[in-house]
């Protein structure tokens, strides 16, 4: 009951006219920043941080959190409409969002994404409200072996469920892992796999370069070939009746967004992870647990709902280690943390006790930001659909230019743009050969987390691999991951036995 009282006070602060105005403004700005490829919540929050010195700390934090939220919604828009991930967190949304748009169902994808985001956001704020201090302990209990086990599980969901062609999936993962190892090694400081000593490789391969290359450039080439410039995207229309129909669709795929919300939140609270791995894992698990895994990647609304619920849940989740442990769970929260430092707030276990007004008005504003982000997003759907009505001869160059900007913006290095173009052409060829590319993107996101965690674990255990099996949290996760990886092999053996029996 004490929590409800505190939250009530928080709402009083959040609904002050200034703060409410900041929430609506922040969400709107965030929505558009998130929708621009290459610009994500990080850029939005970094650029607008100075504006916050005009208002009290609590209002400033509310404003920045609103941008963060808006950008999480916005990221889905360009993933669906253009097939270019608007932000790193929206990569998984392209997997099914893009095919839906190509089938003339962009409105379905957009409404499902917005609704799932809303649900994910709400679930995670509720969890945050009820259990923040307890969850901070869980985040602390996750040591290196636990996080590695979790990453292994993420990989497993992508191998175990692919069903179609396991060798090709593994090949795709390996390519991603090799790319993720390029650059300077964190543990020893030595450069690795720096091709031809080109300095651009020193900072590693930014996964957005691969993701935009694959989904922006590669997909566009593919679409041009398949449709010969005649895309069906413009067929999408929107009416109140269709929106109501989409909510019915949401009920059918309830499992995907429920899963996405909880998984996203949980991965979000772990300081090493964040929203991008969270959304990718949610996609993998949703596909695995669905009755129709084969429809994923071909325009299944559940494939949009799961990652969107997860990335919003994770963005709230990643505020938890920032506030309670002083460790940001994502690049954006790192900037929020910087803001807190100048406002004189010390993040850490004491923050919930010493700064109750600040903490609870922030939490209350998250509820409000989530609601407004949803409403504004749905209100803009017709505008986005109208944009898609442009002829493909205009749309394709636009996508191409936006891809280039998206590749250049994060590092401001032409090296990355060339690399992106090469990846785009490579992805197009692999696509023609029926290689799944999502696993490569997954690997380049999770590789840089998994690898140091494995090496740190082994360093601590003295090279003993049993550390991944004997610990109470890591053990079960590792075993589940291994079973998942081996599942298709068992199925294959069973099928072979059956066939031989029938033959006999």
């Amino acid at each position: 009951m004490e929590i409800l009282g505190l939250l009530g006070n928080g709402f009083l602060v959040a609904f002050e006219p200034l703060n409410l105005g900041l929430i609506i403004f922040g969400v709107t700005v965030g929505l558009f920043i998130g929708a621009m490829p290459g610009l994500g919540s990080v850029n939005g929050v970094a650029i607008l941080l100075p504006m916050t010195f005009l208002v009290p700390p609590a209002s400033a934090m509310i404003f920045l959190a609103a941008i963060y939220y808006g950008a999480m919604y916005g990221g889905a828009i360009s993933s669906i409409m253009l097939g270019i991930p608007g932000a790193s967190t929206a990569v998984a949304t392209t997997f099914d969002g893009r095919p839906l748009a190509l089938q003339g169902k962009a409105d379905t994808a957009l409404v499902v994404a917005a609704t799932a985001s809303f649900i994910g956001g709400t679930v995670s704020i509720l969890l945050f409200t009820g259990f923040a201090p307890a969850l901070a302990h869980i985040a602390l209990d996750f040591g290196d072996p636990e996080i590695f086990a979790l990453m292994l599980l993420a990989f497993a969901t992508f191998v175990g469920l692919s069903g179609d062609d396991i060798p090709k999936t593994i090949f795709s993962i390996c390519i991603g892992l090799v790319f993720s190892a390029v650059g300077l090694d964190i543990m020893s400081g030595e450069p690795r796999l720096v091709f031809m000593n080109i300095t651009g490789f020193m900072h590693g391969i930014n996964f957005l370069v691969l993701a935009i290359g694959v989904y922006g450039i590669g997909e566009m080439l593919w679409t041009i070939e398949v449709t010969r410039g005649e895309t069906q995207m413009s067929k999408a229309t929107i009416s109140l009746r269709r929106i109501v129909g989409h909510f019915g669709e949401m009920m059918r795929i309830w499992k995907s967004w429920t899963l996405g919300s909880f998984l996203g939140f949980f991965v979000g609270i772990l300081p090493a992870a964040g929203a991008t791995p969270g959304s990718l894992m949610a996609y993998g698990v949703a596909k695995m647990t669905a009755k129709n895994p084969r429809d994923f990647g071909k325009g299944e609304p559940a494939g949009v709902a799961a990652p969107e619920a997860a990335n919003n849940a994770a963005s709230t989740g990643s505020m938890l280690p920032m506030l309670t442990l002083g460790i940001p769970g994502s690049p954006t929260t790192a900037i929020l943390l910087g803001g807190m430092v100048i406002w004189g707030l010390v993040p850490g276990p004491r923050l919930f006790i010493d700064e109750t007004v600040f903490v609870w008005s922030l939490i209350a504003s998250l509820y409000a930001a989530n609601l407004f982000a949803f409403l504004i997003n749905v209100a803009f759907v017709p505008v986005f659909l109208w944009m898609l009505k442009m002829p493909f001869t205009i749309l394709a160059p636009t996508i191409f230019v936006l891809s280039l900007i998206g590749g250049y913006a994060p590092t401001q290095d032409m090296h990355d743009v060339w690399l992106m173009l090469i990846f785009g052409v490579g992805a197009y060829m692999l696509r023609k050969l029926d290689y799944p590319l999502a696993p490569a993107v997954l690997a380049i996101v999770l590789g840089p987390i998994a690898e140091p965690k494995m090496r740190q674990s082994l360093l601590i255990s003295g090279g003993d691999f049993s550390v991944f099996f004997t610990r109470p949290i890591a053990g079960p996760i590792t075993i589940i991951a291994i079973i998942l990886i081996l599942l298709p092999v068992f199925q294959l053996i069973r099928r072979k036995i059956k066939e031989s029996r029938q033959a006999g």
Binding site: H203, G326, I327, P331, G338, P349, G462
Partner: protein, 330 residues
């Protein structure tokens, strides 16, 4: 009608005057950034360097000290090697728009990796903003109260005692080596991506001890999770009066971390002068002074040639430390 036109003229005149004023105040500097300034942080998120960099950025923004924003970018890879190589490669206008918050890996990383082709002494000396301090930390539940208790516990565990730190041959590694040799210990050093991650390892009891800066452990210390048992300073720190210095304990050893802002080696003299002025303003701001006091930071502002002398001295100290450690050849 006439009146309206008059007002209109008045507004126009005022606007022109205002523009002229802004312009003249801008023009009073010889060089000004004409695009956003890349503010590289040579360490991971949530660590001491990171928090400080973001504070500096906030001060610059708050008082509108710069016409162009500072855009912080973390480049923690390879104990700062990534960041050093990044700045080293900046040419032309980019070199004038790239600055970096640096620490002691500024010396150790190039010393250990001559292949990087980086000479720290060639970087543009903008400002040493402070020197940070180090303490030896343990978890409250370990029951360790002082260095004697620490040595006893670490000896008993031998190679299984985990000391978490921020990268191989980093400051933390040097301090671990000092402790190992001074007290006959064989602690195992495990590197992480930043001071924040290191602090969390101790709070979650995944590590047995750390040598964090005060700002990194502050939150956990306030909550009573972690305890400082000794300081690597010349006298006790106001923030932690109960932690004796290693000097008091009979070991003649002190160690500090530079908190400096440097520019790309190819930065022009005009741009360097601009940034020196900018960070002098940051140093003099109330926010920075308050932060310095609150986080027990030491050291005055130095820049230009004095900073180069300071670098030379410290580069030599680190060379000797690394030779002793066996990380490089003499």
């Amino acid at each position: 009608m006439n009146k309206i036109r008059k007002i209109g003229t008045g507004v126009a005149v005022a606007a022109v005057a205002a523009t002229a004023l802004t312009y003249s105040s801008v023009a009073s500097f010889a060089w000004e950034p004409n695009k956003p300034i890349e503010f590289v942080i040579m360490a991971g998120k949530g660590g001491g360097a990171d928090k400080m960099a973001r504070l500096m950025q906030s001060v610059v923004e708050k008082h509108k000290m710069s016409a162009m924003p500072l855009l912080p970018v973390n480049k923690p890879g390879g104990s700062g090697a990534e960041a050093l190589v990044h700045l080293n490669g900046k040419k032309g206008a980019d070199a004038n728009h790239t600055i970096m918050v640096t620490l002691n890996s500024f010396y150790t990383t190039p010393l250990r990796q001559p292949a990087l082709g980086v000479d720290p002494l060639s970087f543009a000396p903008i400002a040493r903003m402070a020197e940070d301090t180090f303490l030896l930390w343990v978890h409250k539940d370990s029951g360790i109260k002082d260095v004697d208790g620490f040595v006893k516990a670490a000896k008993a565990k031998g190679n299984d005692w985990i000391m978490a730190g921020t990268g191989k041959a980093s400051e933390d590694n040097l301090l671990t080596d000092f402790l190992n040799s001074a007290y006959g210990l064989s602690m195992k050093y495990v590197p992480y991506k930043g001071g924040g991650a290191v602090a969390k390892q101790l709070a979650g009891q995944h590590a047995n001890s750390t040598v964090n800066n005060p700002s990194e452990q502050e939150g956990f210390y306030a909550a009573g999770d972690t305890v400082p048992i000794a300081a690597f300073t010349d006298e006790r720190m106001a923030m932690f009066p109960d932690a004796p210095t290693f000097k008091e304990l009979g070991k003649d050893f002190e160690y500090y971390m530079q908190r400096s802002v440097v520019g790309a080696p190819k930065m022009s003299a005009e741009a360097l002068a601009y940034y020196q002025g900018l960070f002098k303003n940051v140093f003099d701001s109330d926010e920075w002074q308050a932060y310095r006091k609150k986080k027990s930071l030491r050291g005055d502002l130095i820049s230009g040639d004095a900073m180069k002398v300071y670098w030379q001295t410290n580069n030599e100290i680190h060379r000797q430390m690394l030779i002793k450690m066996g990380a490089i050849k003499g």
